[in-house]
């Protein structure tokens, strides 16, 4: 019984064995904290793990193939104006994505790549951190009335 009480007290004052969450609270450079034992190193994921998607706005041609094959309809095509030319670009909603890698395989310009990062938790479902490419959308999107007709 006393042993148990002792254990509980020890647990209360010992250092935490979990990391801060969501991950954005963890500083980018964590090596200095590792030595002090403040955070735990990230889990090593296996080769071929499918995690967060990354999107290269410059090389995308707006062909829309990725949004056609995406099983979760997580890719949205919007009209954009770049260098005063009308074209299309995509945004990827990570909250809907199933990480199947179809879009990466289909993209003719390799504009979408898959990374091994799996720490995606955030408070806002449609916040910038969970919509890949949203910063470009804010900049380049045009409301295309021709589409509506």
């Amino acid at each position: 019984m006393l042993g148990m009480v002792y254990k509980v007290i020890e647990q209360i004052f010992s250092k935490k064995s979990t990391n801060c969450f969501p991950m954005k609270y963890i500083p980018n450079n964590t090596t200095q904290y590792l030595n002090q034992g403040i955070i735990h190193p990230p889990i090593v994921v296996k080769e071929g793990f499918r995690g967060r998607l990354e999107y290269d706005f410059q090389s995308c041609t707006g062909c829309g193939l990725c949004s056609k094959v995406c099983p979760a309809n997580a890719i949205e095509l919007y009209s954009a104006e770049i260098n005063s030319k009308k074209t299309k670009r995509v945004v990827i909603y990570l909250t809907r994505c199933t990480f199947c890698k179809e879009c990466v395989d289909i993209c003719p310009r390799n504009s979408i790549t898959i990374t091994k990062s799996f720490c995606m938790a955030d408070y806002k479902k449609y916040g910038n951190s969970l919509v890949v490419g949203s910063e470009y959308r804010q900049q380049f999107e045009i409301k295309d009335h021709a589409d509506v007709e």
């Binding site: 793990f49 890698k101 289909i106």
Partner: protein, 409 residues
Amino acid sequence: MKSDIVYPLNIGPVHPAFKEPIKFTFRIEGEQVAGVDIDFGYTHRGIEKIALERNYIQIIYLLERVCGICSFSHPLAYCLAIEDVAEIQVPDRARYIRTIIGELERLHSHLLWTGIAAHEIGFDTLFMYTWNIREKVLDCLEEFTGNRINYGMLTIGGVRRDITPENSETITRMLEYYMELYDRASEILLDDLTLRARTEGIGILSREQAEMFCAVGPTARGSGLLKDVRIDYPVNAYYDIPWLNPISPRDIGKEPIGDVYDRMAVRVLEIKQSLNVIQFCMENLPEGDINSGEGAVKIINKLKKLEGEGIGRYEAPRGEVCHYVILDNQEHPIQLKVKAPTYSNGFTWIPMLTNIEIADIPIVIASIDPCVACADRMTFIRKDGAKERYSWDYLHQKSIQKYKRSANQ
């Protein structure tokens, strides 16, 4: 103990003992179950309907989510059905890789089931033990496919990722690990006195009853039916495996009577069989392509020009899955029918549950490895919220009417 007092016992639809919503209404006499009524339909997700609005590639990923455990069997049956219509030849290497993933899935499903069965009879040490050793196959699957479940490996006409030399090393290590453990684990599962006491002679499904209810998978094999889609209608690499036979409790020298113990024995023996099949496939893995090399859009465009109907059958860990598709020159099928194993096995609960004691209900229910969400295919809800039941005759009439209408058009 029998008694004159008869009272109803409702379990479900939402109950801590079940992982999925389903309702059982038992008629209890003393401690014994005198009758049972089963009510499906609380977790209908409309997958068949959703599939009609997606293209052929998107459906693969939708069907992976029919069942969390059989997340390879369902899309495989669908791909087989599509390949049947389009007459696509799957390359040899892809056939073998499909077999390996299918068997890895069977391995992890059966280990999961043994854990659940042990948990249902209160043998939690065994539950922890089997789930602990199950991690190895999940790790292997993760390395090989990228995910622990919902592998995303299939495409129409092949598979999406190849087995690299590192992967085959992992698989070989995993096989060694399980081969070493198998004797000890099977001894615990098949000879342990506590387990035998709780499973022998309980939940009996006789051979005739199994035939009558069209039981499939380990449930049928536990009752002595030699029925296995892998052998009866071979696909993938199963053609090439001459020694593959349906498992029966006779393999351990026991005449099957169809009790829970027999079903457990079948699953334990199938673990060994799966290991052997994986080993065979790894040793005889042919070289070559893993798919037709066409992109997803090309496949969709090709299927868009086809019409016809196809059927795909595959032995999932729980029994036969069967997918039926109709193509009609569109980007999506105009009909998709999914038949999950629990749809057949669900009815065998009635003879199994009759005349057992209340304490045995959980293990008997778990013994067919139910997956309720997979089996929920149709629900009718009237405007006032009450559920409506359509009889067989009514549905038959309806289908005749529909057929006549479309034939007249």
